[in-house]
Symmetry: D2
């Protein structure tokens, strides 16, 4: 048996100024063969569905791509990852909204919380976007940034000194902590199956996620990619949060009109209807027969000639 | 306050030969105004996110469409529906896989199960598809169908008579039931929030779902549509299980090539590059500014001229 | 049909200095009869289990008590409550750990957060307990308390002024908020079924919960009690977080020894074994036959004479 | 690193006539030291709560017992188990109600289901209990049992032959299966964290569970016990489904009365109040100080002298 962790390039990634993501454990962890990855656990579970029918079967990569393309997510739950994270409270508050994970966090009622606060770099203090109400991607004026950082550091330091002072004076930890700003770092163990993890990563690696959250999500993705390479590859191809695009019913209609218009122009220029265009074969998007057929079916929806 | 159930055209739909779906209750049930639907509960929850910012806000329909288009699903959890279903065990076995619902089923340990079994109509006995391993949509030869139905009825009847006989002989209900085929009807209360209900309906109203399951899913959809009309409308437009289409990264590339080719043919026929085409405005797919902008962004991905 | 909300003594309870719990909606909301409560939805779902067997049936209260006593929790999921809460972030962080609820919170990325912070009363600043590492119940010296409150107010005010200043200077809301302490109030809609709500209340109304959290949990309990009176009554009687007591295997053995010892003393004083004692009937703890029988069975475990 | 599976006495247990439970994988699987068990993952997660406070710490067993005694269940979610089961459909239908597990089942739409049906042994055909409506534990008359088994076998065989016949005639698998009785074996991979697994085992190893289900649940318990020995031991001591007993508020009152009565008898016989009895120390139920203190607190509730 081989330990999948033996071949992982890294098991920890530093994030922001005092944070980290550490990969602690996973299931499956041991595989029978050096070439096998944790993708195998997904394939194994999926194949139980075929029972005796498994004989005439797809190879693993094809099966995983099929599962992902058709939202057959349950076998993907058979892989689990456990992380140890250190992240600011405002990130933790976003992450905890993903209710399918298990987590254990350092308790501010039991423990004295360490004096680490997140402070952005000068070139990472961002302007409020007017269009995107959620946040901003554009750097703010450097002077403003420098002052903001200085005031933030000062606020954090003062708050922490008061926290220490009142702990010493005997105030309960659960109340003294009310002084502390939400940039304070917290820590937790966070365990999640791959299905729910990919859902989380789709939302939190996305450009609409807050930059600071994205740093942690991207680190998690980097840590798991070599362990479930086929699944991540398929997800990159088929998730609308990654390389895929979702066309609404309205957009589908719009696309149809556009192609119709282009076709009419082409045909008009030749004086007859569609012949030349129709002789051309539709682009090949996949060697996989089934996937190519699915593409042909969609192309028909758009009115593409083939 | 108005009771939303007062204006519902129907609260029960018969399904298959002995089954039904009944809408028992929902939340919200009472609304302050005759014009208001349960969509309002989604809007209310979504707007808490904007806090003081709610003043300069979208109207309800636009907000719901925005939420659905961008997978902001949590406000959709604020609406709940409770159903009473009578369905064959093989359907119940599929439905119970949707783990986010709450359910209470008639117990074959406590109760004597009633003698109702599902038998398909002659024109609904289906051939095994060779392509689609899951099932089939094509009617089988009528003679085979008639014999199958007769044998099925006979099997069910004989099994039920033995069940009764051994109950009378004192065999425990929990064991006597082992005689009964999975076409037997069962009953349950099934409660689910609208987010998870739409996920369920996406999968089970789909053409890949088993016909018998689809009958129940479609009935549920018909029952809720008038109660959350905006949400269902948006879902029909934006769900890849309904009117929308998901283009994989590979298909996106294929589409780009096709459009590129069409463009080159158009331009070739005019002897210059793209001018005529570019003068044309891209199709308008929505009056909603934001939605139209999203379409423009996707059209650019495809290389559509505008 | 009667609206259950019409007879509720209160639908909002003020909590701490700037917080509240408001009951927004519930399912079931309408009942056919003035005497009926939402307990009826639990009974209805439970009875589907008995199918045809429902004829010879328990009355509602007895059935609900039976369900609670035997941890038949699924019918209790059929009742849902929706609340609107305003609570400090450090409480929100505890509450969000209950993953079975649905929630929508005001977003510090979208909105400017209002300037309300929690400050305890002088007589509610607590000492750190040495025994109970979690918190403390004993009031701290009044001078310390007064200083703590003053410093907390000052910290909150300064932080909020900086927050406003940097928002004005154009810093993104998602970053400016990092200045704000975790005593800041937040707001959310929170929806939960009664099974999971009682589990939450068991933990958070408990004396081990932080005082500030308990205030909100108790308010929620007070709001729902008149709406599901039988269920809450049964829960008070049977939950080890309320009036019931869980005896571990070791304690059970201990109790047996104690009773054995007492019995031996009694018998010794009379010079024979157990006769007198055995003549006495065991205490009647319930009119309900089944419940009394369960008590007799437990009393036997302890070695109690009867 | 040591593979926990290397020291497991068994990884598969045969159940009923054609079923089995196989332990396929777990997390954690590798431990740094031969003496360590998977209990360590629980301890590790629990200790993150104490942060810097971990220095003055309990040893592992004590901590696990503390967690279990006080329902601090979240760290127990950090251990996961994956099983492969073969079980009759009527058992599968009970097991799937535990919604926190992940599962993949052989599909009767994709595959031809194998011809295995459960048939009880003659001495395991049970009478319907009149008291316990759920089932029965008492063997039925052997003649009835033998006939029941013969009829069951015959029904199963005939049904399966028809199933094969109609598959051959081209009827879709998803419809042909409607002939098959619920004693048919099915197969699945089933993955669950230890918290939810223990909850499942509490209910399904219990004497109220159906015998056939209990066989599978007990097999699962036997497979995991050597892998998380401390956790299972603590669960046996503290779960009301195992060695512990839950006293309702009413029973607590009853116990108090009983003890009061015994005390009065003892005291009466000596002519004074409680003195002798009070001199005796309360039974020691645990070496663990905190646990003993909890026992003292409960004993006070009962009015036990100490």
């Amino acid at each position: 048996m081989y330990d999948l962790f033996d071949n992982v390039p890294q098991k920890e990634i530093k994030c922001l100024d005092h944070g980290f993501v550490r990969l602690i454990d996973m299931m499956p962890r041991l595989v029978p063969d050096k070439e096998v990855t944790a993708d195998a656990a997904i394939v194994q579970a999926a194949r139980v569905s075929y029972g005796a029918g498994t004989k005439s079967v797809n190879e693993d990569r094809g099966l995983i791509r099929y599962l992902m393309r058709h939202s057959h997510w349950t076998p993907v739950e058979m892989v689990c990852f456990k992380f140890h994270l250190r992240l600011p409270i405002f990130c933790a508050r976003q992450m905890v909204r993903h209710r399918s994970a298990s987590l254990n966090e350092i308790s501010g009622r039991y423990s004295v919380l360490p004096a680490d606060f997140y402070t952005p770099d000068v070139d990472n203090v961002r302007q409020q976007s007017q269009l995107n109400k959620q946040g901003g991607d554009i750097q703010i004026d450097e002077n403003v940034a420098a002052k903001f950082i200085a005031d933030l550091k000062h606020t954090d330091l003062e708050a922490y000194q008061l926290y220490e002072k009142y702990l010493e004076a005997g105030v309960s930890r659960e109340q003294a902590r009310m002084l502390l700003p939400i940039g304070l770092y917290t820590e937790w163990y966070w365990e999640c199956d791959l299905r729910n993890l990919l859902h989380f990563l789709g939302l939190r690696c996305d450009k609409h996620a807050q930059h600071e959250m994205r740093v942690f999500a991207n680190a998690m993705l980097d840590l798991i990619r070599p362990l479930v390479p086929m699944t991540v590859e398929a997800w990159e191809d088929y998730s609308p949060y990654r390389g895929a695009v979702l066309l609404s019913r309205l957009e589908l209609e719009g696309l149809r009109q556009e192609i119709d218009y282009l076709m009419s122009r082409v045909n008009a220029s030749f004086g007859w209807h569609g012949e030349t265009i129709n002789l051309r074969k539709l682009a090949v998007v996949s060697e996989n027969k089934r996937e190519q057929q699915e593409w042909v079916d969609k192309a028909r929806l758009f009115g593409l000639p083939w």
